[in-house]
């Protein structure tokens, strides 16, 4: 259910680091809590976020939820496909990445959870 190739936050984002960049999305648990996702509001390429800073928001029919950046970095890519097909977040939350950031410090993973710890958090 929760891939071991990435880390998780207590705010229910996942972050998958590859070299000096990382993809960020929300977890299966977050998706399930939200219900049908209808809108994903994402930042512009070039914006810089500190760990824990809000980088966007996600809306389901019933609620709005803030998206928080797990690690420090600069946005280098935004998943534009989500604006036309936000429901892909429900269909596959661990594939539906939202942004790619260029990491300020790839070793700085303080406060992030591995899959086992995250599963414990949400069960």
């Amino acid at each position: 259910m929760y891939p071991t190739d990435r880390r998780y936050t207590t705010d229910h984002e996942w972050i998958s680091v590859s070299g000096t960049t990382a993809r960020i999305g929300i977890t299966d648990y977050a998706e399930d809590q939200l219900g049908d996702v209808v809108f994903v509001d994402l930042p512009e390429v070039g914006q810089v976020f500190e760990p824990g800073a809000q980088f966007g928001s996600i809306e389901s029919v019933k609620a709005v939820s803030d998206l928080f950046c797990p690690m420090a970095g600069r946005v280098v890519e935004v998943n534009a496909a989500l604006s036309d097909r936000p429901e892909t977040v429900n269909a596959g939350p661990h594939d539906a990445w939202m942004i790619v950031i260029e990491l300020k410090d790839p070793s700085q993973t303080d406060g992030l959870l591995d899959a086992a710890a995250y599963i414990e958090l949400v069960s």
Binding site: G35, K62, V64
Partner: protein, 369 residues
């Protein structure tokens, strides 16, 4: 979370919702299903086939006695004297200022016996308001009979088809906002052709002990046409598409019946009722703001409480907003100054610090064909 949940009220169908895997949320003091399969799927089922809702949390307050009509006339805005036995009307409990205590349906059960169906979160408040309001009217008393009824709604274009095989009452013969008594699935019922979805359908009042069996029977009976159990989430998006007001959100004790665009539920010609003078005065001088519908022009979803701007000036506030699954648009209701209420008027809604363009549109957003 567990502690708070323990104090919540439960409908007779609560165990069934949990057993069926519904997502439960606190609503107006009740632990209620917000969704089963998903708001979008449930919403579309109601628009295209049928949906099944547990609305047993709604309150029933009965007013009876020789002067029951005078009592109901005194505390509700609409003209209950126009009701025949077996007919229901949309109405409001109003304050002296013509604002809302709550909105409700008034059912005329007999000449001198009325049932008022009120919102779940305001049963106690409404009962106190009604009891105080009818004092001195004469021979009339009010009883809170909420615990005597479960209420199950079957809504959608195929609702009649689902329910008809379960009853000998001729459902097609029940007019809109009319009701009959009879048995449904061998349960003593009051069958009302009303709802809160903008679709045709029925609301069925049954004794709590019969609720689970009726629910199960309806689910089975509707499976072939695509009836789906639905929660409060879909109920909210459905009612908003139909521009039906939500008490405590679109209408409350700060908004008048006229500002809410509900002048048609005021019995202007009837004698004294609570709020009459204030409403007549406001009608004479004209309202300064009104509840209007809007849709988002640019991307974004407006929600309750978001401010509305025209130019640099904050002119109003969103009372309800969502993205609706059927129309596939972001829509909402907002109170705006009368000068900005004409359909086509553009405004900006502040969504998390950013101004997003919206446009005033006529109501309702959705009207069944």
């Amino acid at each position: 979370m567990t502690d708070a949940r323990d104090t919540l009220l439960k409908t007779p169908l609560h165990g069934r919702h949990v057993a069926m895997g519904a997502k439960m949320v606190p609503f107006g003091g009740w632990d209620m299903p917000v969704q089963y399969s998903g708001i979008t799927e449930e919403h579309l089922a109601v628009r295209t086939a049928a949906g099944l809702f547990d609305v047993s949390h709604m309150g029933e307050i009965e007013v009876a006695g020789r002067d029951a009509l005078a009592a109901v006339q005194r505390i509700s805005s609409n003209d209950a004297s126009r009701l025949e036995i077996g007919q229901a009307q949309y109405s409001a409990l109003t304050t002296d200022e013509g604002t809302f205590v709550d909105d409700l349906l008034v059912y005329r059960l007999t000449n001198d016996h009325f049932m008022l169906v009120v919102n779940a979160s305001s049963i106690a408040k409404d009962f106190a308001h009604i009891s105080a309001g009818i004092q001195g009217v004469g021979d009339a008393f009010a009883v809170n009979t909420s615990s005597r009824y479960a209420l199950i709604a079957v809504q959608g274009p195929r609702a009649l088809e689902v329910v008809q095989p379960l009853t000998e009452v001729d459902l097609a013969g029940i007019g809109y906002y009319r009701f009959e008594t009879g048995e449904v699935a061998s349960q003593r019922s009051t069958i009302s052709r009303t709802g809160y979805t903008g679709e045709d359908g029925f609301e069925i009042f049954v004794p709590p002990s019969g609720a689970d069996r009726l629910w199960q029977t309806l689910l089975t009976a509707g499976a072939g046409v695509g009836l789906k159990p639905a929660g409060l989430g879909a109920r909210d998006t459905l009612r908003l598409e139909a521009a039906m007001r939500l008490s405590g959100q679109d209408i409350d004790d700060t908004t008048t019946v006229l500002e809410a665009g509900l002048g048609w539920i005021v019995g202007w010609d009837k004698p004294a009722f609570v709020g009459r003078e204030a409403l007549i005065a406001q009608k004479t001088r004209g309202v300064t703001r009104k509840l209007v519908g809007f849709e988002m022009v640019d991307r974004g979803i407006a929600r309750h409480g978001y401010p509305v701007f025209i130019g640099a000036e904050s002119v109003g506030v969103v009372s309800s907003g969502t993205r609706t699954p059927f129309l596939e648009k972001a829509i909402g209701l907002a109170y705006l100054p009368v000068g900005a209420c004409t359909p086509g008027t553009e405004c900006a809604i502040e969504i998390r610090g950013r101004q997003v363009t919206a446009r005033v549109v006529p109501l309702p957003f959705y009207k069944r064909g």
